[in-house]
């Protein structure tokens, strides 16, 4: 690949071979999603709990916080469309994978827990998205629907029946509660957990170390190899068998 010679970006001893994992559309969408999510989180925090009332002055008072929350709310709705427009293929593959569940997906979880806590684990062959990511996606989709769906009645209460607005508060709260839980995990895995870190870099640059990709998303990697898009790492390391 073109960027084979790129220097290792982390302590991880990869061969330096990078493969394209994320399209530009996805990268942008993900970034917008991430930034707006955190912005929404921060702008809502002082209302969620008084511990963060000190944020009001920072945000320009309740009115400033409210305005920002609304601006980022719009931003928060955008990623789906960004991805869909800039990378429809990737978007639809994502959609397809989310509804495709096989045995390996379930196996993933047992291994994932081990990996998460640093125990011995083995990689279960995964497609472009592993089962964890799929769960993440699904929960995020659901919570986004909850949050965005409830956000409208909260924003424009006069346009909705009162009961809808009242339940919207609950939905927003539940959606947000779930989302933050998932997001915290997601972030942990991507930023803090050592084994996922290449994914974090990848979601910014679009590229990931080939070996890492092969380990984590074997099925996908192999498919891409077949298509001739990715280098066949097994060829380089003939002694070793693919997992």
């Amino acid at each position: 690949m073109k960027k084979r010679e790129v220097a290792a970006m982390s302590k991880t001893q990869y061969s330096g071979v990078k493969v394209k994992r994320f399209s530009k559309g996805f990268v942008i969408a993900h970034a917008v999603n991430a930034i707006s999510f955190f912005a929404l989180y921060i702008t809502a925090l002082p209302m969620y709990t008084e511990w963060f009332d000190w944020l009001y002055p920072v945000l320009g008072g309740p009115e400033g916080a409210r305005l920002l929350h609304r601006i980022f709310a719009i931003a928060f709705i955008m990623p789906t469309f960004i991805w869909l427009i800039m990378d429809p293929k990737g978007f639809f593959r994502w959609g397809k994978e989310l509804v495709t569940w096989k045995k390996r997906d379930l196996q993933f979880f047992t291994e994932f827990v081990k990996e998460l806590f640093g125990f011995k684990f083995k990689h279960v062959k995964q497609t472009f998205f592993n089962a964890g990511e799929k769960i993440n996606s699904i929960i995020q989709i659901l919570t986004a629907i909850l949050i965005i769906g409830s956000g409208f009645p909260m924003w424009f209460p006069d346009l909705f029946p009162k009961a809808v607005v009242q339940w919207a508060y609950v939905a927003h709260n539940v959606g947000f509660g779930l989302a933050i839980a998932v997001v915290v995990g997601h972030i942990y895995l991507s930023v803090i957990h050592k084994n996922s870190r290449p994914g974090y870099t990848g979601v910014i640059t679009g590229e990931v170390p080939a070996e890492w990709a092969k380990d984590h998303y074997t099925e996908w990697y192999e498919e891409e190899v077949k298509k001739g898009n990715f280098p066949d790492l097994d060829k380089d390391k003939k002694k070793k068998k693919g997992a």
Binding site: G61, F117, G118, Y169, G177, Y188, K194, E211, K214
Partner: protein
């Protein structure tokens, strides 16, 4: 301290609306003229700058007799107030008198109280600061708490010439209401005391001549279930979940450090050179 309530006997009210202007006068509230309502009623309902509205109802009873009913409507000051429950800033609070008030310094104008009030009382008022920037605050009847603190009665009660409104201890007022109810039952068989249980009773209670619905009041108002689910379950659980997730991650981080030093415990399969 004993609980105080405002007792409104609508059967004595003659609709003069002095209570409406006494309120504006005492609280220095601006006028906000509305469109013609099709009756002499001035405002469709209470607003952030019109804390009490006199409603005028033409009602024909089951015998076809015409009645012209009046009701002073203002904040009910619920004992279990939905607005207090949902307020994220503790701006809505109970006073020593048992009434419900907004602490304007704390209010951020989120409007949750507006949406959850079972009586559609609380509203947001828009103000402008020195720089012309607009900001909002929840506003509603304060039961003239500043007067109460000085030992005076609410302005609306003081001005009421038929004594359709009185202010006093809950016990005393409820007794009056019971007595009045027995007096008017003959004339108004549907008469009742309106002091709804669903909100834990109120600090503005009524003797109504007709069913609550005739006055546009909910028959059985209560704190919205959504507010209960939200504030008593969803939010605590959410906070717990956030805590639990955080704890789990901290645990994961720590255990990673403990059990996974120098890449041990990691299968070398798969060609990944994990540390």
């Amino acid at each position: 301290m004993a609980e105080y309530i405002k007792y409104v006997d609508v059967t004595k009210c003659d609709g003069c609306r002095a209570c409406m202007v006494a309120c504006k006068n005492w609280n220095d509230l601006p006028a906000e003229p509305e469109e013609f309502q099709g009756s002499v009623q001035s405002h469709a309902k209470v607003t952030a700058n019109t804390w009490n509205v006199l409603s005028f109802i033409e009602h024909e009873d089951s015998k076809g007799n015409l009645d012209y009913l009046f009701r002073h409507s203002s904040c009910f000051h619920c004992s279990e107030a939905a607005c207090v429950k949902v307020c994220p800033e503790n701006a809505m609070h109970y006073t020593d008198f048992g009434t419900v008030n907004v602490d304007s310094d704390k209010c951020v104008g989120c409007g949750y109280c507006v949406q959850n009030c079972p009586f559609d009382v609380v509203q947001l008022a828009t103000y402008k600061d020195k720089n012309g920037k607009e900001y909002k605050k929840a506003q509603k009847c304060t039961m003239c708490v500043d007067r109460l603190e000085e030992g005076m009665q609410p302005a609306c009660v003081t001005t009421c010439h038929t004594d359709a409104m009185e202010f006093g201890t809950k016990e005393e007022m409820l007794k009056k209401a019971e007595k009045r109810l027995s007096e008017i039952k003959d004339k108004y068989p549907n008469a009742m005391i309106y002091n709804p249980e669903g909100v834990g009773g109120t600090h503005t209670i009524y003797v109504l001549a007709e069913k609550p619905s005739v006055y546009g009041l909910p028959e059985k108002p209560k704190v919205p279930t959504s507010a209960v689910v939200w504030k008593d379950y969803a939010q605590p659980i959410g906070k717990m979940m956030l805590g639990a997730t955080s704890m789990a991650l901290v645990g994961a981080f720590v255990s990673n450090k403990l059990f996974n030093k120098e890449g041990k415990g990691h299968e070398e399969e798969g060609g990944g050179s994990h540390e």
